[in-house]
């Protein structure tokens, strides 16, 4: 669990394969690690978080929670941001300006979870040329075809997803685990679970799907959801994006948005 009282907006360099990209992160410490922080809060209780914007330009803060307010984050300042009282579920916070979105600052906002078997998947895709433009202060022409080169879970691409204990779901037989999933990218994604169906227990964009039991789960642009998985059988089972361009690293298969459900005896 991450009480996370302060977030630092940090510029840095992100490397995937042979691509080096200018990037932004919303980190839990003042030094660059390359990973966005998760913020945990109790349900039905308002709270706050201090956001330190170390970037050279102003940003705006937003969450995809209902009735969320935009908060200005002037460059080089610290701002106390109020987090609304929310029901249990998964949400996201992010920088709601083009530079912040394109360069990749934003993380999971988990509300009301207090369990050891809790994982999270921050989904995002990356187009280096677009990031270079944005970092240089250029506007993005969104009418052009979008061809991302990298697809990640928690800023890692397969096989590195196996090194992340939050992305790699290691549980014991008959455990029940929960996974917070949020799409921070510029396109819709869809995850297919091998070996299991999962229960959708929260969803920001399609709450009518809460209660559905699925093996293939769309996560739309900007959407957050929570799924419950009952590990009823042993073994190693992939979870991957079923848009098959997204299981590549710069075009190489396998890569990208692939992780594993590992159920141990």
């Amino acid at each position: 669990m991450s009480a996370q009282d302060t977030l630092w907006i940090l510029p840095g360099t992100y490397i995937q394969g042979n691509d080096t990209m200018p990037a932004l992160r919303s980190e839990g410490q003042p030094t660059w690690s390359g990973y966005n922080a998760v913020v945990d809060r109790p349900e039905n209780a308002s709270s706050s978080v201090v956001v330190v914007n170390t970037d050279s330009v102003a940003h705006t803060w937003w969450t995809n929670a209902p009735d969320a307010n935009t908060v200005d984050l002037p460059a080089g300042t610290s701002t106390s941001v109020m987090l609304p009282s929310l029901p249990q579920g998964s949400y996201q916070y992010f920088l709601n300006d083009e530079r912040g979105k394109v360069l990749g600052a934003g993380g999971l906002l988990r509300i009301g979870w207090d369990t050891e078997t809790l994982f999270y998947w921050n989904l995002r895709e990356w187009q280096p040329s677009m990031m270079t433009l944005s970092a240089a202060g250029e506007s993005i022409d969104w009418s052009l075809p979008y061809v991302p080169r990298h697809f990640t879970i928690n800023e890692r691409a397969y096989p590195s997803t196996g090194d992340d204990p939050n992305a790699y779901v290691a549980v014991n037989l008959n455990d029940t685990c929960f996974i917070s999933i949020s799409n921070f990218g510029h396109m819709n994604h869809v995850l297919h679970f091998h070996g299991f169906h999962v229960d959708i227990i929260s969803a920001t964009h399609h709450p009518e799907r809460v209660g559905w039991n699925k093996d293939t789960v769309p996560i739309r642009k900007g959407e957050s959801l929570t799924v419950r998985l009952v590990a009823f059988q042993e073994g190693m089972y992939p979870v991957h994006n079923h848009n098959l361009i997204a299981v590549t690293n710069a075009g190489f298969y396998p890569g990208g948005m692939i992780t594993t459900i590992h159920v141990m005896p």
Partner: protein, 381 residues
């Protein structure tokens, strides 16, 4: 469109004991097939086929099982590369999951058996999981249907009369023409958009039209292996209701006028079309990366009776109608009988006017003598 008559499903269940003692059909994989586009362009195709047929198809053979069936799916690979079968959505164990790194490759010349219990009814898919991006783009996929003998879509769920598989997929012509040259895979952008492997004018062919009898409920088995996000639009006259997704009942069924289907998703939608309706389910294919509309295909849905011209409706009555065993006509020659979907059931003479139908599936039939008028009769249980 491919359909499974009610009674055939029932017969397959009745004969399940005998069936279980027979070697199950074998699928094979090949990489030397040809797929013809609507304009006649021939594209190289990789895919699956029945060993008994000796050729591969797009999509691969439609696999049907009965709920509770213990399945041994035999697969052989004579092709030059390794392949597998991933049973998408059936939640099989790791050994049978068809992922080469966690299960096993089926290398050239090797045969294997995938074993699982078809323990839940619903719509599922299968596909190769070797270099998945390339092998699926080349056509290595198909649909699996698990049904219940009582023709309900799940235990306690609504009943229906016919299954109508509608399998969405797409391909990139450049990849199929030059698979090796298709790298890098993240730039694949499909340009042929299909329903059951057909597109454009191919979907207007009689065999692709979804015919129905007034009052019938059809179970549309919708599944996608496309790169695109698929959006289906259901006209109000179809009375479409969604009951299942990914092989599970949805908590509350819901009426729908449109439905989006992401890659790998499946839905079961029941339609009860109004009589005399003739229209289309429009299928939009939206690019997943930039959200551009790529294409629209149309699935024709048509009252079967509309395929009979008015002059052909002149009564040529048989009795009793409905019937269970024999229907009597005046002595007639060069008689042809079709079922409601245009499949020929009988061709020959009826010198005594007696048509024996006791082994025929329950349903509606059309009968014609020579070039004379067409008459309809119904076979009941």
């Amino acid at each position: 469109m491919m359909r499974i008559p009610t009674t055939l499903l029932a017969l397959s269940l009745i004969s399940s004991n005998a069936w279980s003692q027979m070697p199950p059909p074998q699928l094979f994989a090949e990489m030397d097939g040809i797929h013809f586009l609507a304009d006649g362009t021939a594209l190289p195709l990789w895919g699956y086929g029945w060993v008994a047929d000796g050729f591969i198809t797009l999509p691969g053979p439609f696999l049907t099982y009965t709920e509770g069936e213990e399945v041994d799916l035999n697969f052989t690979n004579p092709s030059p590369e390794s392949h597998t079968i991933h049973l998408h959505g059936l939640d099989v164990d790791q050994a049978n999951d068809g992922v080469p790194t966690t299960s096993f490759f089926v290398v050239t010349g090797q045969s294997t058996t995938y074993s699982f219990t078809a323990d839940r009814p619903g719509t599922f898919l299968y596909h190769c999981h070797v270099t998945t991006t390339l092998h699926l783009t080349m056509g290595m996929y198909g649909m699996i249907l698990v049904t219940r003998p009582d023709m309900t879509i799940f235990e306690g769920g609504p009943s229906y009369d016919q299954d109508v598989p509608l399998f969405f997929s797409d391909l990139e012509i450049a990849t199929n023409l030059d698979p090796v040259g298709s790298f890098p895979f993240h730039t694949i952008r499909t340009d042929v958009f299909m329903v059951n492997g057909k597109a454009d004018s191919q979907l207007e062919q009689a065999a692709q039209i979804v015919h129905y009898e007034p009052g019938q409920t059809l179970a549309l088995r919708l599944g996608s292996m496309a790169y695109s996000r698929v959006m289906c639009t259901f006209p109000a006259a179809l009375n479409a209701v969604c009951h299942m997704s990914d092989g599970r009942p949805v908590p509350e069924s819901f009426q729908l006028d449109s439905l989006e289907i992401y890659p790998g998703e499946r839905f079961t939608v029941l339609i009860t079309p109004e009589a005399d309706w003739d229209g289309t389910i429009d299928v939009e294919y939206w690019n997943m990366a930039d959200g551009f509309l790529e294409d629209i295909q149309m699935i024709r849905v048509r009252d079967a009776a509309l395929d009979i011209t008015e002059s052909d409706r002149t009564p040529w009555a048989g009795f009793p109608n409905p019937t269970q065993n024999i229907i009597h006509y005046p002595p007639a020659f060069n008689v042809t009988v079709w079922d409601a979907w245009g499949r020929q059931m009988f061709q020959g003479d009826l010198p005594d006017g007696q048509l024996h139908v006791q082994e025929w599936p329950v349903g509606s039939y059309l009968i014609r003598s020579g070039a004379g008028p067409v008459s309809r009769f119904v076979v009941t249980e």
